[in-house]
């Protein structure tokens, strides 16, 4: 099943076009990384999915059910869909006068979870996000990191099929980030779908299966990380750094070779030429001592796309 379908979505804020005919499709059971520079339309997309901003045109379907078409939300379908979604917003505080236990209790009530189950689930989640010790402390006294953990806990209270996370790791310390990633991976193992917006590419690269890149309100790329890298390498060329046991004459090759030292070279080719490289060096009576294929990071690809 396709969990999220977005077709030709347009959202204009006064004179700014935040979404410019966005198309998006998120299948079941994946961790989908939604990437984009600041102001690209990531948060607007997420808020549109939840009915929190009203786009002007397009179509949104959640769990296969249409919730929005051409300027109107279908409220009853939207409410049904939201019952199956967990959402963690960016830059949000929770109600400062409540404790974590009270917060999860009141949010659990919104999903009509029975009292006993609510209490059990709240305890499990607060232990999961390491807030059980401070369960009776007011949220107003929490640090940014603690608030982020509670925001994640509230997003999981209804055991959602679809978890939507908007820049979720902002404000977390390295230990918190590691725990957070583990929780997200656990969600995937449990068969859940995670839609995860971020501008921290290392996080996306590490945990996401599929990546969508939004620039100026349009999806400019959507594929698995492996495919994206392969495609990027195909277009930008492979960079291989080798060290040989004796100098090599490169004049009879078409590859772009830059000497980095007496026996160290950077070779750029339009495709993977590792085998050919071995053969050529051997034909010159030399041997490759070290070989390093320089893969582009997602960050490089991303910057290239944004350019």
């Amino acid at each position: 099943m396709v969990m999220i379908t977005v077709e030709n979505l347009v959202k204009v804020y006064k004179d700014t076009k935040a979404l410019d005919g966005l198309n998006l499709s998120v299948p079941n059971g994946v961790i989908y990384g939604f990437l984009g520079p600041n102001g690209a339309g990531k948060s607007t997309t997420i808020l549109s999915l939840l009915g929190l901003v009203l786009p002007q045109e397009g179509r949104i379907a959640l769990f296969g059910e249409e919730v929005f078409r051409d300027g109107t939300f279908n409220e009853s379908n939207l409410v049904k869909a939201k019952a199956r979604i967990g959402y963690m917003p960016e830059h949000a505080t929770l109600w400062e006068f409540l404790t974590p236990l009270q917060t999860l209790n009141i949010i659990g009530k919104a999903f009509k979870i029975p009292k006993e189950e609510r209490e059990k689930r709240a305890e499990e989640l607060l232990k999961l996000v390491n807030l059980w010790e401070v369960r009776n402390k007011k949220v107003g006294k929490f640090s940014k990191g603690m608030r982020q953990r509670l925001l994640l806990a509230q997003a999981l209270i209804n055991d959602p099929e679809l978890l939507i996370l908007d820049e979720p790791m902002t404000g977390l310390d390295p230990k918190g980030i590691a725990e957070f990633k583990e929780i997200i991976r656990e969600q995937k193992k449990a068969g859940k779908t995670v839609f995860f917006s971020s501008h921290i590419l290392a996080h996306v690269e590490e945990i996401c299966d599929t990546v969508g890149v939004i620039v100026k309100g349009r999806l400019v790329l959507e594929d698995s990380i492996e495919n994206i890298k392969r495609e990027f390498l195909r277009k930008a060329g492979y960079t291989i750094i080798i060290e040989t046991n004796r100098p090599v004459d490169w004049s009879s090759t078409a590859w772009n070779v830059t000497p980095l030292g007496e026996r160290k070279y950077r070779v750029v080719a339009p495709e993977d030429i590792r085998e050919e490289l071995h053969d050529y060096v051997a034909s010159q009576g030399a041997k490759i001592l070290t070989m390093q294929v320089k893969e582009p990071s997602l960050e490089e690809i991303f910057l290239k796309l944004v350019e």
Partner: protein, 284 residues
């Protein structure tokens, strides 16, 4: 709706500013009771007149400001904090959330009204007044005050859903309050004086009330004033001497049905407008 109600009620009850202001208003009532205690032979009618003037001058002013400011921040503050995005990402309809919020604010202000009523009755008991004859008037007076406050809250909602920041909304709320409480009634009174003669109290009050009803139908405090004006009638006090006599709030309500309908009904008109706006506002 119940969910939004519970959340807002909890928030309202935990808002210290509300209770601090209620405490200040109660403290300001103390001089009134003290002056009553100093007077010997004070009648129930003069007691209730004094309570009405205190209610319009003290309670309405302080609680009215609080109500409009509370309403002005109701949505904007939540948008700025992001709590509204969390709340409405749950399976809750926007209209349910708005009605829940309104219901909770209504309940909180009616609780304040109940406290004010109880304080007034306890104060009168302390003064040594027989509360039996004034009991119903005190209750009606405070319930009407409650509706004025609810009117101000809903006016505040409209600002909260039309402006961009809570700071601006608070400023505009105070400006609107002073317009509704001082400037517009002052202007209408000036027009009433121009149309009659200030020395002819009876016809001046009559014209002023008519103008208040016709031109200030949107101002809850103006309708409240018209109703309270009708608690007094010029009657023959002693032979040949005419003066204002307190005729009771029940009598005033019967004479000012239109104003009562405006006072009770306008908050729901404002609420309806707020609901229309809330349905389409971007919560980002």
């Amino acid at each position: 709706m119940r969910w939004g109600f519970e959340l807002e009620l909890e928030k309202g009850i935990r808002t210290k500013k509300i209770w601090a202001l209620v405490a200040i208003v109660i403290i300001l009532y103390l001089p009134m009771f003290y002056s009553m205690k100093q007077q010997t032979g004070i009648t129930e009618k003069s007691v209730i007149s004094l309570i009405i003037s205190y209610t319009t001058q003290v309670s309405l002013f302080f609680l009215g400001i609080m109500a409009i400011v509370l309403g002005a921040g109701a949505f904007l503050k939540e948008m700025e904090d992001g709590t509204i995005r969390i709340a409405l990402s749950k399976p809750i309809k926007r209209i349910e959330y708005l009605l829940g919020k309104f219901g909770a604010n209504f309940a909180i202000f009616m609780l304040i009204v109940f406290i004010m009523t109880a304080v007034t009755l306890i104060g009168l008991k302390w003064v040594g007044i027989n509360v039996g004859p004034v009991y119903s008037d005190v209750v009606i007076l405070n319930v009407l005050l409650g509706f004025v406050l609810v009117g101000f809250i809903t006016i505040g909602y409209l600002m909260s859903l039309s402006l961009r920041s809570s700071g601006t909304a608070f400023g505009v709320a105070l400006l609107v309050f002073f317009l509704l409480y001082l400037v517009l009634p002052g202007y209408v009174q000036y027009k009433a004086v121009s149309a009659t003669s200030y020395s002819d109290t009876n016809s001046y009050t009559h014209i002023k009330d008519e103008y208040y009803t016709r031109y200030l139908f949107f101002a809850p405090n103006a309708q409240f004033n018209v109703i309270l004006d009708n608690t007094m009638e010029i009657q023959n006090i002693t032979e040949g001497v005419y003066g204002p006599v307190y005729v009771g709030l029940g009598h005033a309500l019967k004479k000012t049905v239109v104003n009562v309908v405006l006072l009770v009904g306008m908050p729901f008109v404002y609420l309806g407008l707020a609901a229309l706006r809330f349905k389409r506002v971007d919560l980002r």
